[in-house]
Amino acid sequence: MGDLFDRYAGAATASKLHGGRARPPVDEVFEACGRLRDAYHDVISVVAGMSTEDVAARSARLARAFMDQGVTFDLDGEERPFPLDVLPRVFSDSEWRLVADGIAQRIRALEAFLDDVYHAGRVLRDGVVPPAVVHSAPGFLRQCHGIEPANGVRVHVAGIDVVRDEDGGLRVLEDNLRCPSGVSYVLANRAAMARVLPEVFWGQDVRMVADYPARLVRALRAAAPTGVADPTVVVLTPGVHNSAFYEHALLARLMGVHLVEGRDLVCHGTDVFLRTTDGELPVHVIYRRIDDEFLDPLQFRPDSLLGCPGLLNAMRAGRVTVANAAGNGVADDKLLYTYVPDLIRYYLSEEPLLENVSTYRLIDPEERREALARRSELVFKRVDGSGGKGLVVGPHASAEELNGLAAAIERAPRSWIAQRTVALSTAPTWVDGGMVPRHVDLRPFAINDGEHIWVLPGGLTRVALAEGGLVVNSSQGGGSKDTWVLDRPTTRARVPLQPLRPAAGRSSPLAPGPPMDTGPPVDAQRSQQQ
């Protein structure tokens, strides 16, 4: 092994991140004894062979590629790149199967739950979830009661965040069933890696991610109202000022559908139309990237200019499908999260494949007392928060912050939950000229087309770039890693490592390797027409 990782293995095991008090995190690449995990064998052998200068140069090229494409995110009003690390995160085929099955299972249960609470509410009468938990959820929208989605799907796209705990097991950290974002990073990451570090893919069967847009548009078309043979699909964006606008535009382009804003849509009766220069075009499926409260000013915020008045009744009348459905916030509410394992047992008669992170229900006076007494050890989250906003990491917060938090929780206990602070697993990450351990999580993306729940192989691995940092959200200043799923078990015989040493500072014009997934042509013209 080359120099790059020589000191890393030691650093990972003797992590100082947790002051020796809590249990140390697991490392994604190296076992505690320093042994390289099988799935990483090939990729590490390539990267370990590179010189420090070469890795630095590749890292700089990755960053430039992103700035040039405009793959940035908005951090407190400032556009910043979302740094892509040179070393991918790799899942073995067998471990990925657990992730994909566990996520699909969770989505099936949450779909059943949504269908239930917006109809008969059997789950409440049967005492599986207390009515007060659902009734008080900010995302429980009574306006959505009785709406019947065309093919029964409400969670067309899900982002179920998964972390690896100190024992090495994967757990669900939170569910995102409204407008999960970040898939454009997955596509862009793969394309950039294939261009800047082609040799790391060689000899490996990395499952491709580039068919995500095709899968998504297929699911959206399958969700069209009954009787519509050739539906018109649109992507509804809040506009260019939204931090995820790049993603909205990219997905619309790769799916070959219109990118629209609310003012482009109009309802006549219960039919929805797109205003075009050729007149009004009927719209059947809206992949919306605006929040529920902005969808329809007649039903929700009357001051919203982002949506379209009349849309909810068009959904109710079955004339248009909105994806994801309105009202999904009741199912990704963080207090409801604590009931998801019970929902899996109740609706599916199965045991959860992926466990939750242990969580305090702060509406319970006893649990609240205990959680507040341990507030310097726990993570506190707002029940309807996403993107790491409203997140307080106890071990990293000042006493003053924590006391303010305790007062806020006593005032509104339903608005918060507390979770055990998981020492998220670490992965070697290129920071300031060296490989150092940084905490990572994973947002896999799943698409439900009504017949099958497909989990994009890989998803978005987010990296907390600050040393010891546990908040990985892009909106909180994180980075990311290209995330691989190997197509077959890595049981091949070990070959001696043959370090590649291309010259520093330039890409390696090497002979073409086996076919690989180069990701979507993110800077090419629209790749398909609907």
């Binding site: 409440l124 009515p131 009785g146 009766g269 007649l298 009744n313 009348a317």
Partner: protein, 280 residues
């Protein structure tokens, strides 16, 4: 027990909006059609609009009949006409529940015990709820409604539809929805599930058949005391023949007779008339 003879009440509820300048389009939802209940049979219910528009009808979460329509031509006036005939009866009291049974019901109906913006209680109101919490759930509900009837003066024009129970209480006056909101705040503080009811009230206790009367859009409450018991805090009475029930919810925000958004149009003025006739 034989059923009291019903009153057949025909109600005409007209809401007229006038825009300062023509509205380019408007989207509206109307809740003016009576609910079928154990106390009330609905014979017919229609909504008509000027300008005319295709209608879409559905029942909302609370079971209320909703008519939605949009006008997408410029218009400087919008008239929403609700016409209905319903046969009303006196209430039949069910069997009274114990506090334990009310507590169990409150768990099932959590949203009807929880505070809302419009029905928030403060320490003073919670204190009053404690004082009135005496005897059975039914006697407590009656005491709360009686207290609200005396706590507020019926004075139109002081409050509006977004006035909260607390604001009306401090003001000491209001109209029917303020009485209802204050009653809901105290009933819920006393642990009783309670809901807001919007509807119509015939002004006469003994109307002449066939004679139209100027009625009003009215609001009252129902408290769960083993069954839903209708109480009218503005009149300090039980709900009976004179009351036509239209919509239920947590507070006014769940049951507005007309709600809409419009593009252009400038300022808006509205007038409401309710004519109610006992026809049989």
């Amino acid at each position: 027990m034989s059923r009291s003879p019903g009153w057949r009440l025909r109600t005409e509820h007209v809401t007229a909006f006038e825009y300062g300048s023509p509205a380019r389009s408007s989207f509206n939802e109307v809740r003016k059609s009576p609910l079928p209940t154990s106390r009330q049979t609905v014979h017919d219910a229609r909504v008509m609009t000027t300008p005319g528009a295709p209608q879409y009808a559905y029942r909302d979460y609370w079971g209320s009949a909703v008519v939605a329509f949009n006008v997408d031509l410029p218009h400087d006036q919008l008239v929403v006409h609700g016409v209905s005939t319903a046969e009303t009866h006196e209430q039949r009291r069910g069997s009274e529940a114990s506090w334990a049974a009310v507590g169990a019901a409150a768990n099932r109906m959590a949203e009807l015990v929880a505070e809302t913006e419009l029905t928030r209680a403060d320490d003073a109101l919670r204190g009053i709820a404690d004082e009135l919490h005496a005897g059975t759930p039914a006697t407590t509900a009656a005491a709360v409604v009686d207290w609200v009837h005396r706590a507020l003066g019926y004075v139109p024009g002081v409050t509006h539809v977004r006035t909260s129970a607390l604001e009306a209480y401090r003001e000491g006056q209001g109209v029917c929805q303020d009485f209802a909101h204050l009653a809901l705040a105290v009933l819920r503080a006393a642990g009783l599930p309670a809901r807001y009811v919007s509807g119509y009230l015939h002004p006469e206790p003994d109307p002449v058949i066939g004679e139209p009367a100027t009625g009003e859009s009215h609001a009252w409450v129902e408290a769960w005391t083993g069954y839903w018991w209708g109480l009218d805090p503005a009149n300090g009475s039980e709900v009976g023949h004179r009351h036509v029930e239209v919509a239920r919810g947590r507070d006014y925000a769940d049951v507005p007779p007309v709600r809409g958004v419009y593009a252009g149009g400038g300022d808006i003025r509205s007038t409401v008339t309710v004519t109610i006739t006992r026809v049989a």
